[in-house]
């Protein structure tokens, strides 16, 4: 083409003539993201609405997953804190608060294996305990076992074994809900005192660490003999048996041998398997898991609709500008990239305040309910992936509107 007589105001040397190969894919991506951001930024009110929508979805999902995780964690608090090598449980036991009895003889039978050093029957039942301050009664989980055998290692139990062998004594769970009264503070201030469990007066001799569960608000640990003073039960029927193995024994091999040796009215479980079985009951045997899943999905749907609406309205309101860009030589792919870029930006800037708010709410809820609400890294990453997917889907749906931007209609 003839370039002679080009004017001064626009000096274009051939060296920077733009008729070059296209910008690289990364450049194009960066430019599309920048365009998306400039567009989002231009309307603060709409941006805030979109961010609030993403944040709302984010907080809702975090809270649902948090409650679900806390529920399952707390449901397994008791079994989690009973540390032993192997356990015998009835195969039909669904949850620890409602155990099927197993014959105590199974414990002694397990001792037939040379690698089993100790077998301790554990009795579990619920009773009411009177708040020493207000006198109100509250359901407590009572665990009775041979406290001198150290097969079961509760946190803080070891120094109390001598005291617990005396008649009518018990150790109380420090992390029980506050409805039982300031038991820990009273114990720390005045030492042992008497508390009513069931219809008997018991002496509190120490505090241990277990944590409340949805089945019971607190836990009391006592000797097997003291347990029978509250509950008139056949001592030949126990609820759980804890086994301690000889040092160096192969856990898996002993488990397999015992399972073969014992009748099929008991399951031989490792500690993680015992906890997992309890958790599986709450996850699958109750509608709780579904309720939280449903709540999470609703949050994501609402968030997606809000993001979709914002992106869609944005395209619909600027069809002629998008068509102009197409006429200028911007490809459909590039413009789709702008829409997806906007969706991704919304995901990121909505997630950050959503995450911070959720951390704050976790703290508030944990203080209010004594449920163990933590923020594991996997959950943070997982929720970000969900929010990202939510915005991405909204972007994909909104992108279809771009087809309506037809440059041939511009003239």
């Amino acid at each position: 083409m003839d370039h002679i007589g080009r004017p001064d105001p626009v000096p274009l040397s051939d060296a920077d003539h733009p008729a070059r190969p296209r910008a690289g894919a990364m450049d194009a991506l960066g430019l599309a993201l920048r365009l998306a951001w400039r567009q989002l930024r231009s309307d603060r009110a709409r941006l805030m609405t979109a961010v609030a929508g993403v944040m709302f979805a984010c907080v809702l999902v975090f809270m649902q997953l948090g409650f679900k995780g806390a529920l399952f964690d707390s449901a397994t608090n008791l079994l989690n804190s009973m540390r032993a090598d192997l356990f015998l449980m009835h195969p039909m036991t669904e949850a620890s608060f409602r155990p099927e009895h197993i014959p105590r003889a199974r414990a002694w039978q397990a001792l037939a294996d040379a690698d089993v050093a100790q077998a301790v029957p554990i009795y579990m039942a619920q009773a009411s305990m009177r708040n020493p301050e207000s006198g109100r009664r509250r359901t407590v989980q009572v665990i009775g076992l041979d406290v001198t055998a150290n097969a079961v290692r509760f946190e803080g139990l070891a120094p109390l074994t001598a005291a617990l062998t005396r008649p009518d004594t018990f150790a109380f769970d420090n992390r029980s809900r506050p409805e039982f009264g300031p038991v820990g503070e009273m114990f720390a201030a005045h030492g042992p005192f008497r508390v009513q469990i069931g219809t008997r007066m018991f002496e509190l001799v120490g505090m241990i660490d277990i944590g409340p569960s949805f089945g019971a608000d607190g836990n009391a640990v006592m000797s097997e003999v003291n347990f029978r003073r509250i509950f008139s039960r056949d001592p030949a029927q126990t609820d759980l048996v804890a086994l301690r193995l000889r040092p160096g024994a192969d856990l898996g091999a002993v488990q397999a041998r015992l399972q073969a040796l014992l009748p099929d009215d008991v399951l031989v479980l490792t500690h993680p398997e015992l906890v997992a079985a309890e958790r599986a009951y709450w996850e699958n045997g109750t509608p709780i898991g579904f309720i939280f899943l449903f709540g999470s999905v609703m949050g994501l749907v609402v968030g997606m609709v809000i993001v979709y609406q914002i992106l869609f309205a944005d395209i619909a309101g600027h069809l002629s500008e998008y068509a102009t860009l197409k006429a200028m030589g911007y490809s459909n792919l590039y413009l789709s990239g702008v829409v997806l870029g906007a969706a991704i930006i919304l995901a990121v800037i909505g997630f950050i305040p959503g995450f911070v708010t959720s951390l704050f709410l976790y703290d508030v809820v944990a203080k209010g309910t004594f449920l163990p609400l933590g923020m594991p890294v996997e959950r943070a990453v997982g929720v970000f992936a969900l929010i990202f997917g939510m915005c991405f889907t909204a972007g994909l749906l909104a992108m279809r509107k771009l087809r309506d931007a037809n440059p041939a209609d511009m003239f």
């Binding site: 070059r20 430019l31 231009s42 500008e321 006429a327 200028m328 030589g329 041939a408 003239f411």
Partner: protein, 230 residues
């Protein structure tokens, strides 16, 4: 030298079957390098359809249409998108992006081409805005500019990437007489100095003086091609 634009026997219809309506019949037209051609004619005469075909905004049906060396009959979407980057478009409405400044809007036309970084693009856009007399308004948004100023930004956007051809559709329709005159004269001056050919569709008799040639259309045919007074 090859003509930037060369059409022969272009025929085009909308619709199918009974509703089929032919809007272009056997149109042949050639634009020489640096030539400014005005396309006039009543509504429905097919001018706009012709412009969309030349601008690669619509698929060809029959005939030959060679634009800047690219044959459009049977050209794929990717070829057409690539060709559009070498054409400057000016529409009836400015269609500037409201959330970008005038300078950023003009730079958008440069982002499609490699070889320039962001600073260079903005500098070039600024120079182009100065050339259309908007040096002081480069960092304003379209909403802060008058109608004529916005259309001048659109002219700058169409020309900044040094297109091989400029296609304009009624660029003065939304403007008052004075601004309209100003915009088309600016366009023709800049194009003429760079040797860029222009094909401009207009109803506006007040701007006929910028043309090298005036082509009149009626019922999908070219009925008259006059050399204007240049």
């Amino acid at each position: 030298m090859e003509a930037p634009l060369d059409l022969s026997n272009v025929t085009f219809s909308y619709g199918d079957g009974e509703l089929r309506r032919q809007v272009l019949k056997d149109v042949s037209l050639s634009v020489a390098p640096g030539e400014i051609v005005l396309l006039t004619g009543p509504s429905g005469s097919g001018k706009t359809t012709l412009l969309t075909l030349i601008g690669a905004l619509r698929g060809m049906q029959e005939g030959k249409c060679r634009v800047l060396g690219q044959e459009l009959l049977g050209a794929g979407e990717a070829d057409r998108v690539r060709l559009r980057r070498r054409i400057g478009f000016i529409f009836q409405n400015h269609n500037l992006l409201g959330f970008l400044t005038a300078r950023q809007n003009v730079a958008m036309a440069l982002e499609l081409h490699g070889g320039l970084n962001d600073t260079a693009r903005l500098k070039r856009a600024g120079e182009m805005l100065a050339a259309v007399g908007l040096a002081d308004h480069a960092d304003k948004r379209p909403s802060q500019l008058s109608g004529g100023q916005r259309q001048r930004v659109a002219v700058a956007r169409a020309l900044v990437a040094e297109p091989g051809l400029v296609l304009a559709d009624e660029p003065t329709a939304a403007l008052d007489r004075a601004s309209g005159q100003e915009v088309v004269h600016l366009l023709s001056d800049l194009a003429r100095r760079r040797g860029t050919p222009i094909l401009l569709v207009t109803h506006d008799p007040r701007i006929l003086d910028i043309a090298d040639r005036i082509v009149a259309m009626e019922d999908g045919r070219i009925i008259q091609a006059d050399a204007a007074g240049h």
